[in-house]
């Protein structure tokens, strides 16, 4: 049986604390950067740079940290902000990038 990695990855998240926003059965991105952040994480996991579950653990931890620091339904909540933070951490933890490199690229 051929199961597509993308399908497996999304199915894993359904009904879990890190499940992504959806509308009408489709993934729901409110801007281009959210789509890019999503795609980068999935592409890296698909290529084997890190396990999808390890990335999800980072994401769940980021969501928890944010929730602990903010009241429920605070207006500054953005799922893909947490996603991006988790993605940066995952790339550093697995040695794809180092933290200084990311900082330097952002400052450039």
């Amino acid at each position: 049986m051929l199961t597509q990695y993308e399908g497996f990855a999304m199915t894993e998240m359904m009904g879990k604390p890190d499940n992504p926003p959806r509308a009408n059965g489709s993934l729901c991105f409110s801007s281009e950067w959210e789509r890019t952040a999503f795609g980068m994480a999935l592409a890296l996991a698909k290529q084997g740079y890190f396990e999808w579950d390890d990335f999800r653990d980072e994401l769940i931890a980021e969501i928890k940290t944010w929730e602990d620091a903010h009241p429920v339904a605070h207006s500054s909540w953005n799922y893909y902000d947490r996603w991006l933070a988790a993605l940066e951490k995952a790339t550093v933890k697995t040695g794809i990038l180092d933290a200084d490199e990311i900082k330097a690229a952002f400052a450039a």
Binding site: M14, T91, I96
Partner: protein
């Protein structure tokens, strides 16, 4: 008020810049290419999603013989259509369609979220895996549908289909009245994932 919008705008720009920097860095180091993001997203945007279900249902509405075949042998009927490969395999391989009719309304539920026929319906809404929704929908579907804004007449039977690892159900809703002159493509626009789950009916635009 203005301050808050300003803050949001700044944060958006900040996040966007961080993503651009990260992507550029990963491309520069040869970890990903400038096509990687689009390739992964293509799967959800053009291959597997609710647009497939809409095509299947629109075809069934336009061609009653196809509808009969769809209900009799769903994977075989779907294979007739020019849909992306994998539609009748992987998650979709045990797909079964049930058709609404004048006397019957169908509703699909599932006790495991992985049972959702997502190659056809897309990704499930957040409430689909909610234990309360699942148990109440099985026990008192008429009341639950009413809460979804769908009043099913008392004379109409409601059938509830529990998807499992073996069979993933989806609903062929009734074609709305007043759509006789529409093309298949125009019909597709009227078919929502909710209608194919049976928590709504298809409506003329």
């Amino acid at each position: 008020m203005d301050d808050r919008f300003q803050y949001r705008g700044d944060r958006e720009a900040y996040s966007a810049a961080r993503v651009r920097a990260l992507e550029a860095l990963l491309i520069k180091k040869g970890v990903i290419t400038d096509k990687s993001v689009d390739t992964v997203l293509d799967f959800f945007e053009t291959r597997m999603g609710p647009f497939n279900g809409a095509k299947i249902v629109a075809k069934a509405w336009s061609d009653p013989a196809f509808k009969d075949r769809l209900v009799a042998d769903t994977p075989k009927a779907i294979a007739e259509l020019n849909l992306p490969e994998g539609m009748a395999g992987a998650e979709g391989e045990h797909m079964r369609a049930v058709a609404n009719g004048p006397d019957v309304h169908n509703l699909i539920i599932c006790t495991l979220c992985s049972c959702y026929p997502w190659p056809v319906l897309g990704l499930p809404p957040y409430w689909y895996k909610d234990p309360t929704f699942r148990s109440r929908a099985a026990r008192e579907p008429r009341a639950v549908l009413k809460e979804f804004g769908l009043a099913v007449p008392d004379a109409m039977e409601i059938k509830v289909w529990d998807s499992s690892a073996q069979i993933r159900w989806f609903v062929v809703p009734e074609r709305p009245a007043g759509t006789e002159s529409l093309s298949e493509m125009e019909l597709e626009a009227l078919i929502t994932p909710e209608a194919m789950m049976g928590v709504a009916v298809a409506k003329a635009a």
